[in-house]
């Protein structure tokens, strides 16, 4: 299945914002998933700055007790990390399309 990266990002971000009020457990689960995805992206040497800053924002919101915002930010960070992983995978071949020959 071939999807485009921008499409993947939009879908992921869209899903992330569907919400009921979130609690600390929701946040912790969302954060752990996001952190794992972000570590995977870093391991591929393809981390995005926005993933790092969105993860930091999630933590900050949680520290302030705002778990709605924290959970939303963690899910957004996960979506960003996944998009960067998708990018790294597709660029393994796609870079050749840009090459001057």
């Amino acid at each position: 299945m071939k999807r485009s990266l921008p499409l993947a990002m939009l879908l992921a971000l869209g899903l992330a914002s569907a919400a009921r009020a979130a609690n600390e457990a929701d946040y912790k689960a969302a954060y752990a998933t996001a952190e794992a995805a972000s570590k995977e992206a870093a391991g591929l040497r393809n981390q995005w700055t926005v993933t790092v800053s969105t993860l930091a924002a999630a933590k900050k919101a949680a520290d302030g007790g705002d778990f709605d915002r924290a959970t939303a930010a963690a899910r957004e960070a996960e979506a960003l990390a996944k998009a960067s992983i998708f990018q790294a995978a597709s660029e393994k071949e796609a870079w050749k399309a840009m090459e001057i020959r």
């Binding site: 870093a42 597709s90 050749k96 840009m98």
Partner: protein, 287 residues
């Protein structure tokens, strides 16, 4: 700003096309052929900018814009990198604590050799850049290495570039599969999209040279390292090649690699090799 969103849109649609194209397209057996690559690379720019004299490509954004070029030529009478140049010259001549100098680490005493960097070190099996060689020289002589992104390194490389001004870039790729792999890896890094903006180096420096991104005019990828290091008013100081790579990665919202990471060494090898024959013009000054 306008150009920027146009660039972004362009790049997104290019990405879509790329995704559509890549699966069915069979790329003919991927044999690494640096000579053919360099020729194609140079021809691309010579044809895209038929009015730019070949040796002018090494002047980055100034080769693309006549007004800027005039301002630059006036500036060159009191070049803002002069301070770094003087400092570099003095540092170069000052002995380490053990009495040796940089000259002891380099061929020809380090004078007039910048055009040969980076080179492929067959012992290490890796690309060695000038910045890396300078720090290795320091460490071999019991001195602490310099930051790759700060003034001292810029001053040293500025001085070394100056002693090579006008000499044609002369990068060798030895007949060693590891050297060819390094070249290929550098090429892949150059064309690979990264960051949230989904840009490769080529999105800006191949597809859009001469266009403005924020207040800056994009330099063409051909000869893009010949002027390094550069003084930038925006930095109000000098910037090394390492610093520039880090900054360019950040602009696409990609987390930069550590300076002198293998990928950066390899992309420097690739970009320098395809600029073979074009004169060293560093140190440079940018608005």
């Amino acid at each position: 700003m306008k150009t920027r969103s146009a660039l972004l849109l362009g790049s997104l649609s290019a990405a879509l096309v790329a995704f559509a194209l890549t699966s069915p397209r069979v790329v003919a057996a991927d044999k690494v052929d640096p000579v053919a690559d360099a020729k194609a690379f140079q021809n691309f720019f010579f044809q895209k900018f038929p009015d730019v004299k070949h040796e002018d490509f090494v002047n980055g954004p100034y080769s693309m814009n006549a007004d800027m070029k005039r301002q630059w030529q006036e500036k060159e009478e009191f070049p803002p990198y002069e301070f770094a140049l003087d400092a570099g010259k003095e540092m170069f001549a000052t002995p380490f604590k053990n009495g040796k100098t940089y000259a002891d680490c380099f061929p020809n005493g380090g004078v007039g050799i910048r055009q040969n960097y980076p080179y492929f070190d067959e012992k290490e099996g890796k690309v060695v850049t000038l910045e890396l060689a300078l720090n290795r020289c320091r460490e071999a002589n019991g001195e602490a290495p310099y930051s790759y992104v700060k003034d001292e390194m810029a001053s040293l490389t500025a001085y070394m570039a100056f002693t090579s001004r006008g000499k044609p870039m002369d990068i060798k790729i030895p007949d060693d599969p590891r050297a060819l792999a390094a070249f290929e890896n550098g090429k892949r890094y150059f064309y690979t999209r990264r960051g949230q903006m989904n840009f490769s180096c080529a999105s800006c420096h191949v597809q859009s040279p001469g266009e403005r991104i924020r207040a800056e005019v994009l330099a063409p990828a051909l000869g893009i390292l010949n002027a390094m290091p550069i003084y930038r008013s925006e930095w109000s100081g000098m910037g090394t090649t390492s610093r520039r790579f880090v900054t360019c990665n950040s602009q696409t919202r990609a987390v930069p690699l550590e300076p002198q990471a293998d990928e950066y060494r390899d992309v420097e090898y690739f970009l320098s090799y395809v600029a073979n024959g074009l004169p060293i013009s560093g140190p440079g000054a940018r608005p």
